[in-house]
């Protein structure tokens, strides 16, 4: 009875200590990895800083002006060239689209899809599939 208990205890002690040591080493390895990642983050942060400065430097207004002078025939903006979105004419929308817009049913998540509007011509055109999942709009998706 006693030696059984003792063996049991010894086995437990060995088992636990093995487990704990294993755990401890694992933790240490993870800590090391964490420190490495942190260092990397610091490094990347510094690189980002440098890139931001570079971005600002390359985007100096005088550089941009030089480039526009070289590649674009731009002059001073005349008043008639200034417009707002309000000045644009309203785009005519198909009644199905308007209907779909009024539809209170929860819409699908917006995503990018190829939609064949005209099957005969077969010209692919895309639309943001955020109008809702009616088949009316999407035609046949291939």
């Amino acid at each position: 009875m006693r030696w059984q208990l003792t063996t049991c205890f010894i086995a437990m002690a060995v088992g636990f200590s093995y487990g704990l040591y294993q755990l401890s080493y694992e933790v240490q390895a993870l800590e090391g990895e964490l420190a490495g990642i942190n260092r990397e983050i610091e490094d990347n942060k510094q690189s980002i800083e440098i890139l931001k400065a570079e971005w600002a430097y390359q985007n100096r207004p005088d550089t941009i002006q030089e480039l526009t002078a070289k590649y674009l025939p731009l002059l001073l903006v005349a008043p008639y060239q200034v417009a707002t979105f309000k000045d644009l004419p309203d785009r005519k929308m198909a009644p199905e689209v308007l209907e779909a817009l009024d539809n209170p049913v929860p819409r699908r998540k917006p995503r990018f899809e190829w939609v064949y509007e005209n099957e005969e011509e077969g010209t692919p055109s895309y639309t943001l599939a955020s109008y809702g999942g009616n088949s009316v709009l999407q035609g046949q998706v291939k």
Partner: protein, 596 residues
């Protein structure tokens, strides 16, 4: 112990037992003791048990702690490393000097890591050879000076601060012992000259010594933990660039020795652009003469000339000493205290108030101010901030120069901008109070939260402000500032041409021309000020160099450039509603004379 007591009792209850006897039994073997021996044994056993329990307790604690540590990992070496840098962070909130942004989030100043080279001369074997090799990598270092440096009996000398990665590689390739690299911080200004006077610059150790860098030094460097972080300026680099571009263009066209200008939001007091030419590159401030670092807008004070007539007219209208229908006789020059006040292009007739303003008549304005009187004039100018040092987030601020006496003569000269020197900054903020409905707001270089109007103090009535707007529009439409017209943006302004005072005398051939304007005049949003220092006339201006010829065109081009950026929509000037809003009768009596 308690568990043993029944056994002990048993022992006691067996009197027949021998003194020292062993009761042979299958189950138990007892050593039976009596008397003192038994007590001693008891005591020993008790002590053993107590000690055992204590030790067991300690081991349990240790084991528990071990398990805890193994699981949490707290207190391990790596963790100590990770915790350590947090402690100094509580003292210095920032790990390095914080950046400066413009209102659109563009970087104006940022701190980057740079490598510096230092030497331990005692470890250098051959100073001459090392100096010769190093001077090949750094052409700007003299071999002799370097040799002297490397022969010093010290253990630390800087060889080169902030070198490029390529130079670092070259130095590394030389393989000279006793040379070491150290990673340092370096302030970089990606926009270069663009906002040099506003942003300022730092010394090589990263302490701000000019501009915003100096004014917000403790905030940027994080010395004050409560207020640390980046600075967001109200300056817009696009506006700033347009301003600098136009000023430098016209400065070279008219061969001026300097130029300055600013754009101010009249509703918030935010400075959108502030340029002083010639300027410098804050990345290498040492390469530029001191004159270039002088901020003409905030630190320089000038006699502004006729732009002051806007203030004089507003004052007279506000105090109701004159109405728009009234006028003054400007036939003859005024003689006072040995001086003669005359008009440059005199009309030699009676002029109404709008005409006085439009043709920029000194005589008429002087008479207008005389009616107001020196005391009230002084109080008015005080109110619009022209007599005190202005308040703005810059360390370089010039105080106005007031005349030693302030009597009728001074009142007259100051009325058209002579005898009182103010900075362009003061002039712009006072001008913004004239056109924005009569509210004076302190100019600021820090971006304001939201778009709400900033509180200010009322200096003139809204009605007076409205009249001043129309008068300023009239100047551009029909008067001296016609070259400032930017189609669609309803620019209004006032020209100012002043002779420079050198050693107490006016120099006839050295002018300071300025144009203080605002747009759009039906609801002013921005004040634009442009100034040229000593412009010279050329063929295109028929030799004229007054403000109407030299600085007004700057404003015209500038407004056309920045208005779309600032979201000011062009309007049709022929629109009857606009015409009505901007209508200002001149009340001229010239026609009447002609008809008779």
């Amino acid at each position: 112990m308690m568990g043993q007591s029944p056994g002990q009792k048993n022992l006691v209850e067996q009197p027949a037992a021998a003194r020292v006897g062993i009761k042979s039994s299958k189950k138990q073997a007892f050593i039976k003791l009596e008397g003192s021996a038994k007590e001693t044994l008891e005591q020993g056993r008790n002590r053993l048990v107590v000690a055992g329990v204590l030790f067991a307790f300690c081991f349990v604690v240790l084991a528990g702690r071990l398990v805890g540590l193994a699981i949490s990992g707290a207190g391990s070496e790596v963790d100590v490393e990770a915790v350590a840098p947090q402690k100094p962070a509580a003292v210095a909130v920032l790990d390095k000097r914080a950046p400066i942004y413009d209102r659109g989030g563009n970087l104006l100043a940022v701190t980057l890591e740079a490598v510096s080279l230092f030497a331990d001369p005692r470890k250098i074997l051959d100073a001459e050879d090392a100096a010769e090799k190093l001077s090949r990598v750094f052409p700007d270092l003299e071999p002799e000076g370097l040799k002297a440096k490397l022969s010093l009996r010290r253990n630390f000398v800087w060889v080169k601060r902030h070198m490029t990665p390529q130079q670092q590689k070259h130095v590394n390739d030389l393989g000279i012992p006793g040379l070491f690299f150290r990673s340092e911080e370096r302030r970089v200004y990606p926009m270069g000259n663009l906002a040099a006077h506003v942003v300022g610059y730092t010394d090589i150790d990263g302490n701000g010594i000019a501009g915003i860098e100096k004014y917000f030094n403790s905030r940027l460097s994080g010395k004050n933990p409560k207020d640390a972080g980046p600075v967001h300026l109200s300056v817009d680099v696009r506006v700033q660039y347009a301003l600098r571009d136009e000023l430098s263009r016209f400065m070279s066209i008219f061969r001026g020795i300097g130029a300055s200008g600013m754009v101010l939001d009249v509703k918030t007091g935010e400075v959108l652009g502030m340029v002083s030419l010639p300027d410098f590159d804050p990345n290498r401030p040492g390469d530029f003469p001191r004159d270039n670092k002088f901020n003409k807008v905030a630190l320089g004070v000038y006699e502004m000339g006729s732009t002051f007539k806007a203030f004089t007219t507003a004052m007279a209208l506000d105090l109701k000493t004159v109405s728009l229908r009234d006028g003054y006789d400007a036939t003859k020059p005024i003689r006072i205290a040995g001086f003669r006040i005359r008009d440059d292009h005199g009309k030699k007739r009676w002029l109404s108030v709008p005409e006085i303003f439009m043709y920029s008549s000194n005589i008429g304005t002087a008479k207008m101010a005389e009616d107001v009187g020196p005391k009230r004039q002084k109080a008015f100018l005080q109110k619009i901030g022209l007599l005190d040092r202005p308040v703005i987030e810059l360390p370089e601020i010039g105080a106005p120069i007031l005349p030693p006496r302030w009597n009728t003569l001074e009142t007259m000269t100051i009325s058209y901008g002579h005898g009182l020197s103010v900075s362009p900054l003061q002039l712009s903020s006072a001008m913004s109070a004239m056109v924005n409905g009569g509210i004076f707001r302190n100019p600021t270089l820090i971006a304001q939260e939201g778009t709400a109007e900033v509180e200010g103090r009322r200096v003139i009535r809204a009605k007076t402000s409205d009249a001043v707007r129309k008068l300023m529009r009239l100047v551009v439409e029909k008067g001296t500032g016609s070259k400032a017209e930017a189609k669609g943006y309803l620019v209004g302004g006032k020209t100012g041409t002043a002779e420079k005072a050198v050693n107490g005398r006016y120099k006839r051939d050295a002018l300071v021309t300025s144009f203080a304007s605002a747009f759009p005049m039906n609801d002013p949003r921005y004040v634009v000020l442009a100034m040229l220092d000593e412009p010279k006339g050329n063929e295109s201006t028929y030799g004229f160099r007054s403000a109407g010829w030299t600085t007004a065109p700057i404003v015209s081009r500038l407004v056309s450039r920045i208005a779309p950026i600032l979201g000011v929509m062009p309007v049709d000037e022929e629109d009857p509603r606009i015409q009505k809003a901007m209508h200002m009768p001149t009340y001229s009596r010239e026609k009447n004379n002609e008809t008779f």
